[in-house]
Subunit: 342 residues, 2 copies
Amino acid sequence: MTNLAVIGGDGIGPEVVAEGLKVLNAVLPGVETTDYDLGARRYHATGEVLPDSVQNELAGHDAILLGAVGDPGVPPGVLERGLLLKLRFAFDHYVNLRPARLYEGVTSPLAGVKPGDIDFVVVREGTEGLYVGAGGVLAKGTPREVATEESLNSRSGVERVIRDAFSRAQSRPRRHLTLVHKQNVLVNAGNLWSRTFTEVGKEFPDVVTEYQHVDAASMFFVTQPQRFDVVVTDNLFGDILTDIAAAISGGIGLAASGNINPTKEYPSMFEPVHGSAPDITGKGIADPTATILSVALLLDHLGHTDEADKVEAAVADDLAAREPGAGVRTSEVGDRIAARVS
Amino acid sequence: MTNLAVIGGDGIGPEVVAEGLKVLNAVLPGVETTDYDLGARRYHATGEVLPDSVQNELAGHDAILLGAVGDPGVPPGVLERGLLLKLRFAFDHYVNLRPARLYEGVTSPLAGVKPGDIDFVVVREGTEGLYVGAGGVLAKGTPREVATEESLNSRSGVERVIRDAFSRAQSRPRRHLTLVHKQNVLVNAGNLWSRTFTEVGKEFPDVVTEYQHVDAASMFFVTQPQRFDVVVTDNLFGDILTDIAAAISGGIGLAASGNINPTKEYPSMFEPVHGSAPDITGKGIADPTATILSVALLLDHLGHTDEADKVEAAVADDLAAREPGAGVRTSEVGDRIAARVS
Ligand SMILES: CC(C)[C@H](C(=O)O)[C@@H](O)C(=O)O
Ligand SMILES: CC(C)[C@H](C(=O)O)[C@@H](O)C(=O)O
């Protein structure tokens, strides 16, 4: 019996999560869910972000589904570092998986780009780099102030995510893997990444590899998205690249993500890339597709490959059948996709 | 008498620089130029990157025009850190200015985006952040390896570039300035940047301000480039954002940049954003427009505002008159623009 922790969160989070669960229940009846009240609301009410006891409970689940957390009243960093990144780090989510696919029926902002032209996946490292929270501040608020941020990169951390990306590339038809970094400037980390990439690549002789600087890759995402199949990169570069990837494949309303611990030692966490969108909260017009696609990633991770494929196919069909330019009703999207997978 | 140091560099560098100088000479006859042989060729021949004596000579000029340096035979970082960044840091080029404008006659890869929709300038910090070369490596080549990169940010460094950006925004019709950072994750540096932004903003009450995370900004560059007027950001974010900006406004062949020391204590350096493009070197087909637009930035910096405007207008006219889809001949572009400004 699958045991899912659900963090609806703030804003549209609970609205889109409800639809994700509707679809999950339709395709795989009987998943047990436990709701956790975490996010801005709890923070405002109690000052708590993620009590240890809650973290321990979460650890006991098979997976976590998260909607979105945050509102403009919470100081920057509090929920990000105290909740989202805390869980990514505590549960060792070293593969932050973000597929980018332009579905039939969805319009890319890129001229002349058709469905099929964009179909790649970014494997973003999730537990190292500039996200570790290393750094400090000297003489804060004075003219002498110095603020630092440190990117920490370990051989084992880099190697495991690169190996994961190679094996994903190997299982795809094109077998192409692009490493993105900035090795001409960030020479220490860049050298570690590219040396490890070359070494691990020897285990995957059938995968074609390429290196791109992050600035060039950001450009190519816009000018030649067809180039990409699997992309592996560090935490911060991955953050930026996956938002560009979302933009070119129809927007953040469709972008799914999985914070994955491939060893399954800890639960993986699945969440749409978008935020809590306070401006449209409560109107019933948030597109739950990104969450539903995140449910597909969740199913795949838990070994329910057929169900995962079914959900993705149902999403594809639903997108293809939508009235161009018409808005969505959150619950109708969930109903339609649930019906397709039942 | 203006005294210009010229670093043609490698690949197409000397080809595009020749056209930049042709235009410069046409619009402002009598600029004295001195050529400096720096880049991959010199490195391969002598092992030298930037001898102190050459750096001292460069320091004696009013400005520097650089084509492009590098070839695939030079290890990553050698010329970047030993020459380009060395000069940016030594000559305190704290304003890395990168305009993005979609000219009439140029096709954006973005659907439905017309000339006039993209007209913004990125003020990228040029002397701090992750570009300072701080960091190290432990146990290199072993399973225990750890590689670090450190971002250093000083109040004075952040303040001066933010003030520059505000004053550029104030002199533009829209008076809009966007700060881009990642303050929800890079809390130390992000807080310094956004606090300083708020404080300096009080000196410019007529400038409308906005903050965006770098991932969101990267997305908006693609989905809503009309939003932007002036953007100020740190060194690495600026590197990425300006390549996206170049991509959406017709490609790196048109993207100009100025590494500017506004105090004029040291010479500023102007260069196209593109690289040495070994694949098209010697064919006479490199587009020198980015270099010519960099010459416009150079003229503006040196106080020759009318000449700068003339060059930019001539480039705009030339682009508007080009046969759509036809390739360019490097020297013909230079001839045509030089004729227009004479
Ligand atoms: C909210 C923030 C901490 C997060 C990140 O930077 O990873 C988000 O942008 C994402 O991409 O999941
Ligand atoms: C070549 C490299 C060091 C440089 C940078 O990263 O600044 C380049 O990408 C640029 O944008 O001028």
